[in-house]
């Protein structure tokens, strides 16, 4: 297991280096100079050159890359060209919004997907099962933006149960959580609809498995057999999907943060793109890449914990 962990960690590191090269290259082949954008249209060419030199953007590309990568390794993400605030600090603040948002959304998604999926599988072939499937379809078909706006109308504008947008900061945790509820539900409902289909398929496969029949031949009731034998096996494919979906939730968060005016990673990224704040964009892209890679590694490692057949194999 230890050697496996080390190997897996090695893969993550190598992939991260690759990702950093790709991110850096893509953003640096874009035309236009950040200095010109920062200084505005009236800037003299001299001032632009000066600022470019000051930002270190006149060095050869490989040099810029190494400086940036070395900074990342030391935890120095640089200073924003635009706001002149340390990017690490900005990202940290944004994460304190997006992290809980994504986590809550996943909880909402699971809270919907597990009962709907398991129920749908148990009622397979019956009208009530088809109804549960249809509910899932509808949930998936509603675009996030529309769902979010509907929730705002229903719970913020009509009933004032939750704020329609904005974020008061974590100094008042209760208010902070309240402002995250609607965005998390918006993201979570769609997520729940998607996940419920995977849960249903996975549980259905278990229900048809030979060992579940063996368990029932021992006298276990359907529910007992499913709890003792089915769920762990059903979880194996679901863990993969969860990993992938968690990554896609981060992307979905960009839209939802916009709808609900939350100062999260999505908002930070969109602002940075608008302002040609290349360094911030680069850092966020790396952060997302690292998150996805770590999630994938976590998925692989959790396989080993869930499925004994994958242990002792490389």
């Amino acid at each position: 297991m230890t050697s496996y962990l080390l190997r897996r960690l090695g893969t993550v590191l190598v992939t991260l280096v690759g990702a950093s090269i790709v991110v850096f290259s893509v953003l640096n082949v874009l035309p236009g100079s950040p200095a010109a954008v920062i200084l505005g249209q009236q800037a003299t060419p001299r001032a632009v050159r000066q600022l470019t030199a000051q930002l270190g953007l006149d060095k050869p590309l490989w040099r810029q890359y190494l400086d940036w990568a070395a900074g990342l390794l030391h935890g120095r993400l640089g200073v924003s060209y635009v706001s002149h605030v340390a990017i690490g600090q900005e990202i940290g603040q944004a994460l304190s919004v997006t992290g809980p948002l994504v986590g809550l959304a996943m909880l909402v998604g699971l809270a919907i997907a597990l009962p709907v999926g398991v129920g749908g599988a148990l009622r397979h072939g019956r009208p009530s099962g088809s109804l549960l499937g249809a509910v899932g379809q509808v949930g998936m078909a509603v675009p996030t933006v529309v769902g979010g706006l509907l929730l705002i109308v229903a719970f913020a504008l009509r009933t004032h149960l939750f704020p329609s947008g904005g974020f008061p900061g974590w100094s008042d945790p209760l208010q902070a959580l309240r402002s995250l509820v609607l965005p998390a539900v918006t993201l979570g409902v769609v997520e729940g609809a998607i996940l419920s289909r995977y849960v249903r398929a996975s549980v259905l496969e278990q229900l048809r498995s030979d060992y579940l029949r063996t368990a029932r031949a021992q006298g276990l009731r359907m529910g007992q057999a499913l709890r003792r034998h089915g769920l762990r096996n059903a979880a194996i494919p679901l863990v993969t999907v969860l990993g992938l979906e968690l990554a896609s939730l981060v992307v979905g968060a960009i839209v939802v943060e916009n709808v609900f005016d939350l100062p999260g990673i999505g908002t930070l990224l969109l602002d940075a793109v608008d302002n040609r704040d290349l360094l911030t964009v680069q850092d966020i892209a790396m952060l997302v890449a690292a998150t996805v890679l770590v999630l994938n590694a976590a998925v692989d490692i959790s396989y080993r914990l869930i499925d004994p057949r994958t242990r002792g194999r490389s």
């Binding site: 397979h124 072939g125 048809r208 498995s209 030979d210 060992y211 029949r213 063996t214 368990a215 029932r216 031949a217 021992q218 006298g219 276990l220 009731r221 007992q224 003792r228 034998h229 762990r232 096996n233 194996i236 869930i306 499925d307 004994p308 057949r309």
Partner: protein, 349 residues
């Protein structure tokens, strides 16, 4: 006394009959072999008896376990009986066990369900059970996962599960089909011993006629979802009366005893089981049968002769020896020996 009585059992898949009017009895401690090709409805019959048919399959008729009709019993009652009074050994040991749970935990599932065994007792019982099925180092084996065992060992585990509560009736669905030939004999030997020790009734579903003749008191032949012949195994296998049983016996005898026919071919039953399960009306075997007569378009009535029953309009006459004993029977073109010769053989037409 009858332990299991199957009366007029039908299994249908969305209205299509896959098993029709199957009836047979198994006395307490008796061993009955259920034989027939793949697709003849043997496994479906066993699953219907257990009440474990898959989606879309429905059973009708009567399955009496010590007089109690299982097909009318509510699911809750069936759960009390399954694993305790009636148990089943499955065909595929590779998939019959849960890959993510240790063997020891799985083998005592029935004991924990029906006897309420606690953790420590369960662990001890698991080791005892694994010891009874002759698994090497049972204490260690109990901690292994199924994929760490060989096929034969897994089947032993499945057998240990089935016998753990001393069931009245044990159904064994081709318990050796998925195993290596060298392991098959050992597993059958073990099954034989376990059934002996427990005194439970056995329904053994198999292709292997040699196993039937060694282990079973009576034999039931199925074809196309119907019981075509039944009776004491020695008598039936020695002198089969249904052309289909005769064909099975001839092919099996050629493989195990006589080798290829003088023409260099192994005898086989002409034709094959229809892939879509659509057997002809009347006698399901008539399109493959060499003794078919016009009347075979009608469903054959059961002919009784003492303990033997055959469902055929034109059975092999009583007293005819098994075809295996008569090499001459392998060449139907030649004038046969006096009296109608054994049938149901000959190469593919």
């Amino acid at each position: 006394m009858t332990a299991l009585s199957v009366r007029g059992l039908d299994v249908r898949f969305h209205g299509q009959a896959l098993v029709t009017g199957v009836s047979f009895d198994v006395g307490a401690g008796e061993r009955v072999g259920l034989i027939g090709e793949s697709g003849s409805g043997k496994s479906l019959t066993a699953l219907a008896i257990m009440g474990l048919l898959g989606d879309g399959l429905a059973a009708h008729g009567h399955v009496l376990l010590d007089g109690e009709d299982l097909l009318e019993a509510p699911e809750r009652r069936l759960c009390q009986l399954r694993g305790d009074r009636i148990a089943m050994i499955f065909q595929e040991p590779a998939t019959a066990l849960n890959p993510t749970r240790r063997v020891g935990a799985q083998v005592v599932e029935a004991l924990r369900t029906h006897r309420g065994l606690r953790h420590r007792d369960a662990r001890r019982a698991a080791v005892e059970l694994l010891e009874r099925v002759e698994l090497p180092d049972p204490a260690r084996s109990a901690r292994l996962y199924p994929h760490e065992l060989s096929g034969g060992q897994r089947q032993r585990v499945v057998m240990a599960m089935a016998i753990s509560c001393c069931p009245r009736v044990l159904l064994a669905d081709e318990p050796t089909t998925a195993l290596d030939a060298t392991v098959q004999a050992k597993v059958i030997h073990l099954l034989d011993r376990l059934v002996d020790e427990q005194g439970c009734a056995l329904v053994l579903i198999t292709h292997d006629l040699a196993v039937v003749s060694q282990t079973c008191d009576r034999v039931v032949t199925m074809y196309g979802g119907h019981v075509v012949e039944s009776g004491p195994s020695a008598a039936v296998l020695d002198a089969p009366r249904h052309p289909y049983t005769a064909g099975l016996v001839a092919t099996a005898a050629a493989v195990t005893l006589d080798g290829p026919t003088p023409t260099g071919r192994l005898p086989s039953i002409p034709g094959s089981v229809p892939a879509d399960g659509r057997f002809p009306s009347g006698c399901p075997f008539r399109d493959r049968c060499e003794r078919a007569v016009p009347r075979c378009t009608e469903v054959p009535a059961d002919r009784r002769d003492g303990e033997r029953v055959v469902a055929c309009w034109n059975p092999v006459p009583a007293g005819a020896r098994a075809p295996a004993g008569e090499p001459g029977g392998e060449r139907p073109a030649e004038p046969g020996p006096p009296g109608p010769g054994p049938t149901g053989q000959g190469g593919p037409r």
